[in-house]
C-alpha cells in the first residue's frame, strides 16, 4: 500500500473514530436531524475546502476564500432580491467567484506577489466589498430576508440530505477524477511538487495556477449561494474565517501545505471531520469562539503530524529501495 492510500485511510479512520466518540458520548449525535445538519455544515466547509485543496496542491494558498464567499454571497443575495431565478443567482455567485479567483491568479502570476500575502490582502478587499454590498437601512446593516421562493428552494432537501450536500459530493467526485485522470490534474501535481522541473517539462505553470485559483473562486461562490439560500439573507459575517476552516479541513485530509500531494477525497474527509468536531463540541456546550482554539491547535498538530508522516514514509521507501 502506498503512502497516499495510507494517508487517506488515516483521515477516514479519524472521521470514524470521532463519529463513534461523539455518537457514544452525546445523546443526539446520530439522530437524523443532527446528521442532516452536520452534513449541511460539512458541505459548506467542504465545498470551499475542495477549491482550497486544488490551490494548495498546485503549490499555492488562497487566504481570500472567506472574503470571496462573503462578496459572492452578497451579490447572490442582491440578485435573489431582484427576483432573479435560482439558476441566475447561483451562476452569478459562481461568476463573481471566478472573477475573484482570476484576480488572485493575476496577483500571484503577473505581479509575482507571494501567494499568501497576495490572497490575504485580496481577502481584505473582497470582504470589504462584501461589507459595502450588505443590506442596510439608514446606514445600519440589517438582516434583510431574501424574498425569493425560487431561490430559497435550493436550500431544500431530499429525505435528510440537503441539495448542497449532493452538489458537494458530485463536485468532489468530479474534481477527484480531474486530479487523477486528466492532463491538467497531472500538471497540477507536477507544479506543486517541483515548480522549476514542471516548467522545464513544458507544464504551462501560469495557466495551471490560474485555473486552480478560478476553481477555488467558483467553489466559494457555490458555497456562498447555498448558504445565502439557507440563511435567507447575506450578512457581513458570511464566510468569516472560512479560509481558516477550509485549510484546516485540507490539512486534516492529508493535503500537504507545501503542495504536490493530497486529493479531493481527503478534503472531503477533512471537512467531515471539521463539521463533526464543531457539531460535537456544541453538544458539549463549547461555543463557536472557543472552538476556534481547538481548530487552531488542530491545524498545528495536523501540519506537524503530516511532516512526521512524510518523513517516516520517505525513510521506509528509501530503506526498501536500498
Amino acid at each position: 500500500m502506498n503512502s497516499k492510500r495510507i494517508r487517506i485511510l488515516i483521515s477516514f479512520l479519524l472521521v470514524v473514530i470521532l463519529a463513534l466518540f461523539f455518537g457514544f458520548t452525546t445523546e443526539s449525535f446520530f439522530s437524523a436531524s443532527n446528521l442532516s445538519q452536520l452534513l449541511r455544515d460539512a458541505a459548506y466547509v467542504g465545498t470551499i475546502a475542495l477549491g482550497m485543496c486544488c490551490v494548495i496542491i498546485s503549490g499555492n494558498i488562497d487566504l481570500s476564500a472567506g472574503g470571496m464567499a462573503c462578496f459572492a454571497g452578497c451579490i447572490c443575495a442582491r440578485l435573489a432580491l431582484a427576483g432573479m431565478p435560482a439558476i441566475v443567482c447561483i451562476l452569478g455567485a459562481m461568476a463573481i467567484g471566478a472573477i475573484m479567483g482570476f484576480i488572485n491568479s493575476l496577483l500571484v502570476n503577473r505581479l509575482h506577489i507571494a501567494p499568501f500575502v497576495a490572497t490575504l490582502a485580496a481577502g481584505f478587499v473582497y470582504s470589504g466589498l462584501g461589507l459595502i454590498f450588505t443590506f442596510r437601512e439608514n446606514g445600519r446593516i440589517v438582516n434583510k430576508p431574501v424574498m425569493n421562493p425560487g431561490f430559497t428552494s435550493i436550500a431544500g432537501k431530499v429525505g435528510i440530505i440537503y441539495y448542497c450536500v449532493i452538489v458537494w459530493i458530485i463536485l468532489t467526485l468530479i474534481i477527484y477524477f480531474v486530479q487523477l485522470r486528466t492532463r491538467f490534474g497531472m500538471h497540477t501535481y507536477a507544479l506543486g511538487s517541483h515548480e522549476t522541473s514542471a516548467k522545464m517539462s513544458g507544464v504551462k505553470a501560469i495557466r495551471v495556477k490560474t485555473i486552480n485559483y478560478v476553481i477555488c473562486g467558483v467553489m466559494c461562490g457555490i458555497a456562498a449561494a447555498f448558504t445565502v439560500a439557507y440563511n435567507n439573507t447575506a450578512t457581513a459575517s458570511l464566510g468569516n474565517a472560512m479560509e481558516f476552516q477550509a485549510i484546516a479541513a485540507c490539512v486534516v485530509g492529508g493535503v500537504v501545505m507545501s503542495g504536490g500531494s493530497g486529493n479531493a477525497i481527503g478534503a472531503l474527509l477533512g471537512s467531515l471531520f471539521m463539521a463533526m468536531l464543531s457539531n460535537g463540541m456544541l453538544k458539549y456546550g463549547i461555543n463557536v469562539d472557543w472552538q476556534k482554539m481547538f481548530q487552531g491547535a488542530l491545524i498545528i498538530v495536523a501540519t506537524a503530524g503530516d511532516a512526521q508522516f512524510a518523513r517516516i514514509m520517505n525513510a521506509r521507501m528509501r530503506a526498501r529501495n536500498s
Binding site: 500575502v117 478587499v125 470589504g128 490539512v251 501545505m257 469562539d289 481548530q295 487552531g296 491545524i299 501540519t303
Partner: protein, 359 residues
C-alpha cells in the same frame, strides 16, 4: 529596488530608481497625502488631530518593530492582533479584579509579557524545529489565542476606569503626557531605538539578516539559526503584548475584540516600508515609515468621511500595490523581465531588422 543593496547597510547614497530613491518614494507618498488632505480636509493639520495620529502610529509602530524581526528571517506572524488582545486582557482584568493595586497591575503586566514569551516560543519552536510554514502556524495561533481570550474574558468587556482616574499607573501608560508627547509615543520611541540598536549594532541583529538571506549558509558559519528564529518570534510576540497593554490603557476598555484586525495594519506597514517578505532585507526606517503611513491613511479615512466599511478594501488594495511595487523593483534590479516584455522587445528588434534589410 536598486537601493536594496544598501538598505541594510547605510543610509548613504542610494541609486536612483524610476521613482527616485527609497526615501524619495516615501517623501512622494507623504507629500501626496498632505496635498489630498490640504484640499479636502485642512483639519488634518491641526495639533489635536496629529496627537491622535501619533497614538495610532505608536501602536502600529510597536507591533511593526516586532514584526520586522520575524519578516527579516523570511517568516510572518499573523497572530499579532490576538496576542495584543490577550496581553491587554491580562492587564485590564488583573488590574480591575485585583482591586486597582500596583501589585495587581504588576501581575497583569508580567502575565502579559510571559504570555508573549510563551507564544513566541511556541511559534519559534514549531517553525524552527518542525519546519512548519510560519503563516500556517500563526494563522492557527491567531484563532487559538483569540479563542483563549474569549474564554478568559468570558466574552465580556471590561472598562478599567475609576471615578478618579489620572494619577494611577494603569491610566499612566496609555494617557500620561510627557514633554508634550503621550506616553505610548515615548514607549514607541524607546522600542524603535532598541530595535535599531539590536538590528544594526549587535551580532544577533546582523546574523538575523544572514538567517533570512540563506538559512543553510548562515548555519555553516556557525550561526545557531534555530535559536535566532525562536528569539525573533519571541521579540515579535513581546512587542505585540506591549502594544496590546498600551492599547487597553489608552482606550480604557479591554475584551476579545481589542486590536482585532491589527495584523492587516501591521502587514500594510511592513509592505509600505519596503520590507522584503522573502527575508534578509529591510530596516527600521521601513518599519517606522510604514507605521507612519498606516496611521495617516487610517486617519484620512476617518477625516474624509469614508465609511469605515471601506477600510478593509482600501487596506487590501494598498498592501497589494505596495508589494507589487517592491517585487517589481527587486525583479528589475535582478534583471528579470517578464516573458511578454521580452517578446515585445524581440518583435521590435525583428521589425527594425526587417526594415533595415528591406532598404
Amino acid at each position: 529596488m536598486n537601493g536594496k543593496a544598501k538598505s541594510n547597510v547605510s543610509a548613504g547614497v542610494r541609486i536612483k530608481g524610476f521613482l527616485g530613491s527609497k526615501w524619495g518614494q516615501r517623501a512622494v507618498l507623504l507629500i501626496l497625502s498632505a496635498i489630498v488632505m490640504a484640499i479636502f480636509e485642512p483639519k488634518f493639520f491641526t495639533g489635536g488631530n496629529w496627537s491622535s495620529i501619533l497614538l495610532a502610529i505608536a501602536l502600529y509602530g510597536i507591533m511593526a518593530c516586532g514584526m520586522l524581526f520575524v519578516i527579516l528571517i523570511g517568516c510572518m506572524d499573523l497572530s499579532v492582533g490576538s496576542m495584543a488582545a490577550c496581553a491587554g486582557a491580562y492587564l485590564a482584568f488583573n488590574w480591575v479584579n485585583g482591586g486597582y493595586t500596583p501589585q495587581a497591575f504588576l501581575t497583569g503586566l508580567l502575565l502579559g509579557l510571559i504570555a508573549g514569551v510563551i507564544v513566541g516560543l511556541l511559534h519559534g519552536v514549531l517553525v524552527a524545529f518542525l519546519n512548519l510554514p510560519a503563516f500556517v502556524v500563526t494563522l492557527a495561533t491567531q484563532y487559538l489565542i483569540y479563542g483563549y481570550v474569549v474564554w478568559y474574558t468570558k466574552g465580556a468587556f471590561i472598562y478599567p476606569t475609576r471615578l478618579n482616574t489620572g494619577g494611577d499607573i494603569f491610566y499612566f501608560i496609555g494617557n500620561q503626557r510627557f514633554l508634550g508627547l503621550a506616553m505610548p509615543v515615548w514607549i514607541f520611541i524607546i522600542v524603535v531605538i532598541i530595535t535599531a540598536f539590536i538590528l544594526s549594532k549587535t551580532t544577533y541583529g546582523r546574523r538575523l539578516y544572514a538567517v533570512g538571506g540563506s538559512n543553510r549558509a548562515a548555519e555553516l558559519v556557525g550561526i545557531n539559526t534555530k535559536r535566532h528564529t525562536i528569539i525573533a518570534f519571541i521579540i515579535c510576540s513581546l512587542c505585540s503584548s506591549l502594544a496590546g497593554m498600551v492599547l487597553v490603557s489608552m482606550n480604557m476598555v479591554s475584551g476579545c475584540t481589542t486590536a482585532q484586525g491589527y495584523q492587516g495594519d501591521v502587514l500594510m506597514a511592513m509592505m509600505v516600508g519596503g520590507i522584503n517578505l522573502a527575508g534578509g532585507e529591510g530596516d527600521i526606517s521601513g518599519a517606522v515609515f510604514g507605521a507612519l503611513f498606516v496611521g495617516i491613511i487610517n486617519n484620512m479615512i476617518i477625516l474624509l468621511g469614508i465609511p469605515s466599511d471601506y477600510k478593509d478594501t482600501i487596506q487590501g488594495v494598498i498592501i497589494i500595490a505596495a508589494v507589487a511595487i517592491n517585487v517589481y523593483q527587486s525583479r528589475k534590479a535582478a534583471g528579470i523581465i517578464s516573458p511578454a516584455k521580452a517578446r515585445r522587445i524581440a518583435e521590435k528588434a525583428a521589425k527594425e531588422e526587417a526594415a533595415k534589410s528591406s532598404q
